[in-house]
Amino acid sequence: MDKMRVPFVDLSRFFAKHKTRILELTEEVGESGNYILGDIVEDFENDFAEYCGVNFAISVGNGTDAIALSLRALRIGVGDEVIIPANSFIATAGAVIEAGAKPICVDVDQDQNISLNAIQNSLSDKTRAIIVVHLNGNPANIQNIKNVFKGSKIRIIEDAAQSIGATLNGELTGSFGDCGCFSLHPLKNFHMFGDAGMITTNSGDLAKELKILRNHGLIDRDRCEVFSRNSRLDTLQASYGKYLLPYLDDWTDRVIKIAEYYNQNFEGLFYIPRTRDNVKSVYHNYVIQTPLRGELSNFLQLHGIDTKIHYPIPICEQPAWQNCSLPTADIPMVQRHKEEILSLPIYAELTDLEIEYVVDNVKAFYRNTIKVRKAI
């Protein structure tokens, strides 16, 4: 097996395929002198809403702002508690803090998604929202969570930053909660070429409010309804998004095929992220769980294969959490995961040869390890 180099991500491969059109669009928008909001942004929002099967999509500056503005629009703030999974990206907690509310970290299930049990054990009379993260593109059991909290004052916000196109019982993530928040950052499976975010909702009132909040609280050029922030999706980025969205399903199909191939080959070696029935995961990350994580990662690195850990430090163990004197959390599953999870390269532009190379090396590692263990 000749040594290859398999980067964890390589956006230049993606760009190479779309370069001509992306540069044309850059030129068109640059030439137009129309750089803030406008028809292009609105068209992209409409396409995005249609893709996600919701009534409205409201573009914002980034995924963090999507959550922070959603919380504000849902009137969640000082004195309120918001439940989040302890293994999400730190921005989930940052957005809650920005809203003035208190984040409450809870444990997850074996599949790394928020645990309904853990949510129920963390409820208080201050709980006002649950942020359900569809981690790694694998839909959480949001229907169950929704059923439990139906009719209560507790709002459900989906963090669908990693799960665009993923479905549960045929329905798309981002369409279950009061609203769905997306990051379209360059490292997401559907992305622009800079910071970008989107909020999906079926509520016309919420959509209207969010459009006001993202743009200084203005209802027209001169009248300010509520003092707010500036968090808009650049027209330039929206032009890329509108062009790229029709390609998303093809990339997703390819990524799912790679994941299925990994699954087939890794069966029995370690915990693999197999999808449940009635679920379509889009594998934003392909995360395995193994007690030999460190050795495997080193072995793969030696053979030119990049891996990553998403994420090695749970939110409630971050220095920032401790500096804010936030409560500790009982998170045995997240604790175990942080020692065992490993993300393997997965993106549509991986070549068949590279995929085979990853599989061969992972298998070789286990053959060698088991041989050595038996010998000793």
Binding site: I36, L37, G38, I90, K208, V226
Partner: protein
């Protein structure tokens, strides 16, 4: 959604048809080929978040403004908001500012949870520094002056008030890049100077962007963390922050324009001075006094005008993109109701909101157009 709130771009549709316009972006970026090839490089290098172009931009700004540090952020609003948050400003605190400004100044203050406290302005559109002291209470934590339209607030008075009361100044310098007064640059007066790169600013990009200038290196460290989720490394979060970064692509555009900034600023100044001289003697208008120690950069050309609304209408009928920046003072906005102000609280700002007109003055305005504008104004008042 039928009720479209994306009004910002459509408001310019009509203006595009006028012959003398505020919006000059098409002309300004007519040499975009060079920008395009640089953007291509950025994309090919996978350099989408921060990176070299942003570093270079920050360094150039330090040289330009003369501060030790520059931190590029997502917008001018965020520049002010993050500055205030970095100083620890929180709910219960008070922040002094002017009611005669764009909504973003107040939004930046209000979204920290602090209470905006207004101080009336002077005839030159800027906060009246002599009235700041009486608005200071035990809760005042910052003063946010706005260098309106590119005319700097008096740095000496600001510094005196700041030192005497131990209250930091956060400058809203979004209109005022390269402006200076008594040899102090706008953006280098206070604890931080906040700038916008919004498309309609003197230095602009192809989308939202902003930056913060400061000489306080502790604040610099904090702001760099705050703009990027508080991350001190990929995995470790030192403080809960935000996502407020200048896109690398936008940094390319800003860097390109930065080289031209001194020249285009001079054109604005020359245009303004020409218009000043042509309008001399018109009855019914009041132009702020120009002095040699006040180096204005004319983001807008503003003056007070009798029968303002009729004048604006008359000029628009004659193909001039006259505007009102802005017709309702901040304390009288619906958003400000919770602060309990009423009409009459800030008579100068209220009068300015009713009287002020702004004319296009950017680098693509030529002397014939200036003459046309002044002729029309003469005709309006003198027949």
């Amino acid at each position: 959604m039928n009720e479209i709130l994306n009004f910002l771009p459509t408001q310019y549709d009509r203006d595009r048809l006028l012959s003398i316009k505020h919006n000059y972006l098409v002309e300004q970026f007519s040499d975009y080929k060079e920008i395009l090839s640089k953007i291509e490089t950025v994309i090919l290098n996978n350099d989408f978040t921060l990176g070299r172009e942003v570093d270079n931009f920050e360094k150039s700004i330090c040289d330009l403004i003369g501060t030790k540090s520059c931190i590029a952020v997502g917008s001018g609003t965020d520049a002010i908001r993050l500055s205030l948050l970095a100083l620890g400003i929180k709910p219960g605190d008070e922040v002094i500012t002017t009611p005669y400004t764009f909504h973003a100044t107040i939004g930046a203050i209000a979204t920290t949870g602090a209470k905006p406290v207004f101080v009336d302005c002077d005839e030159d559109f800027n906060i009246s520094t002599s009235k700041i002291a009486e608005a200071i209470t035990s809760k005042t934590r910052a003063i946010v002056p706005v260098h309106w339209a590119g005319r700097p607030v008096d740095p000496t008075s600001l510094k005196e008030i700041s030192i005497a009361n131990s209250i930091p100044v956060i400058e809203d310098a979004c209109h005022a890049i390269l402006a200076h007064r008594d040899n102090v640059n706008a953006g280098a007066i206070g604890k931080t100077g906040c700038f916008s790169l919004h498309p309609l600013k003197n230095l602009n990009a192809w989308g939202d962007g902003g930056f913060i200038c400061t000489n306080d290196m502790e604040l610099d460290t904090k702001l760099r963390l705050m703009r990027n989720h508080g991350l001190e490394s990929r995995d470790s979060c030192a403080l809960f922050g935000f996502n407020s970064r200048l896109d690398t692509i936008q940094a390319v555009v800003a860097n390109h324009l930065l080289a031209k900034l001194p020249k285009l600023t001079n054109k604005r100044i020359n245009n303004a001075h020409l218009l000043d001289s042509k309008l001399k003697g018109v009855d019914g208008i009041k132009i702020p006094a120009r002095t040699s120690e006040i180096h204005e950069v004319f983001h807008l050309y503003c003056f007070q005008a009798e029968k303002r609304d009729a004048l604006v209408e008359f000029l628009i009928e004659n193909q001039i993109d006259a505007k009102k920046h802005y017709p309702v003072a901040m304390h009288l906005q619906k958003a400000a109701r919770y602060l309990g102000y009423k009409e009459g609280d800030f008579p100068v700002a209220e009068r300015l909101a009713q009287n002020t007109i702004s004319l296009p003055i950017h680098e693509f305005i030529v002397p014939e157009q200036i003459k046309r504008m002044s002729d029309l104004i003469w005709r309006f008042y003198h027949g």
